[in-house]
Symmetry: C2
Subunit: 221 residues, 2 copies
């Protein structure tokens, strides 16, 4: 694999994995030495990550995007629009065979599953559901939204009850889609996203002091 994609992938994982904290400064020279690449692939990676919203410019210089509570709310509205559209499309398709695969993915998580896996599957559920619609743009939009939400979801204080509720909602959505009940699927999905947004923003808002203590920049709503 080329250095370019390598740097981009590794840097993205460090940011999404909070190994580099929200709000932290990045210098091209540091990345260069950290990954053993030269500045050209480093700059290519930075440009890409900028369009993903994971990093931004801080005057002269680069900064890891802070956790922005107002932005999280806006993303939820955006998600709802595109995910509901995707699920309505899917419910109207003849071939909805991919649903079983998604259900199996959900069921692969149990009490022994590590937190990371729950986190990843919780995002992939929405991405794969959007993929079934066959619309590349809706898929891209959902993937982009989930990427931007990823760090916040990682920081969210989630209890097992909330996680179980989320999984039940996921399953209910799949059942409705499989049955071709577009309106019900849309309603369930909207409620799921709205609930998710509420819990997410509330959790981070309540804990923003703790987050700042960890050196994470948090922009209030």
């Amino acid at each position: 694999m080329s250095q370019m994609q390598n740097v981009e992938r590794q840097l993205r994982e460090m940011i999404l994995g909070l190994e580099i904290g929200p709000g932290e400064r990045l210098t091209e020279r540091w990345i260069e030495s950290r990954f053993g690449a030269s500045r050209t692939p480093v700059r290519a990676a930075l440009l890409r990550l900028e369009t993903e919203g994971l990093i931004g410019r801080d005057g002269r210089g680069w900064t890891v995007a802070p956790i922005n509570l107002a932005e999280l709310g806006q993303i939820a509205v955006y998600r709802e629009a595109v995910e509901v559209a995707a699920v309505r499309l899917t419910a109207a398709l003849e071939d909805r065979g991919g649903i079983e695969v998604i259900a199996a993915m959900l069921d692969s998580c149990d009490a022994e599953t590590p937190r990371e896996e729950w986190h990843r599957v919780g995002m992939d559920f929405h991405i794969e559901l959007a993929r079934l619609s066959g619309n590349e743009f809706l898929l891209r939009a959902v993937r982009d939204a989930m990427t931007r939400l990823s760090r916040a979801r990682w920081l969210e204080v989630r209890d097992e009850k909330a996680l179980g509720r989320a999984w039940a909602e996921h399953h209910a959505i799949l059942v409705a889609v499989k049955a071709g009940h577009a309106d019900e699927a849309a309603r369930l999905l909207s409620a799921h996203i709205a609930g998710s947004r509420g819990r997410l923003v509330t959790s981070l808002h309540d804990d923003r002091r703790g987050l700042r203590a960890r050196g994470f920049a948090v922009v209030a709503a």
Copy 2:
């Protein structure tokens, strides 16, 4: 302004203005000499334009994105999802003062207005309407969709009657939004987008022979 943004802007305008045809090959060296910049800003511009979908990689090398009829249909579905969501948000806002500005923008076009201006205003209508929602992500999505549609709309064979109909629909949507009638605005906007998609795809499909004769790559649906 920095060379980087300069090259990006000029190259984007050349592509959107069809000065460089869909499907045409691009070499970094040609861009370099054409704009008097070195390869560093050229590559930055190419990376950005790639994420906008205006150019793509062709194995080793860059290519201006072809006109893709299947993609146009998918974009229409995507547009409808985000634009309807935006207009529903706007209709529910207290402050809908920006509507008059948009209406004035529409009214600035008359029989003497050059085609370019109609083209630009026809896109800006949708972008500015989305901006009123206050949601950055919906705005970005609409802007992105309109950018990807721009060349196709430019190639579309539009008669004055169709243009007049589109303007009337634009005005009707504004009236509904201003009155706070979210459902009606959503219905009108959906119909407008669906009709627009139909005319666009039909027009390009019928004329694809002529487009290919002009050296434009056209991917059939």
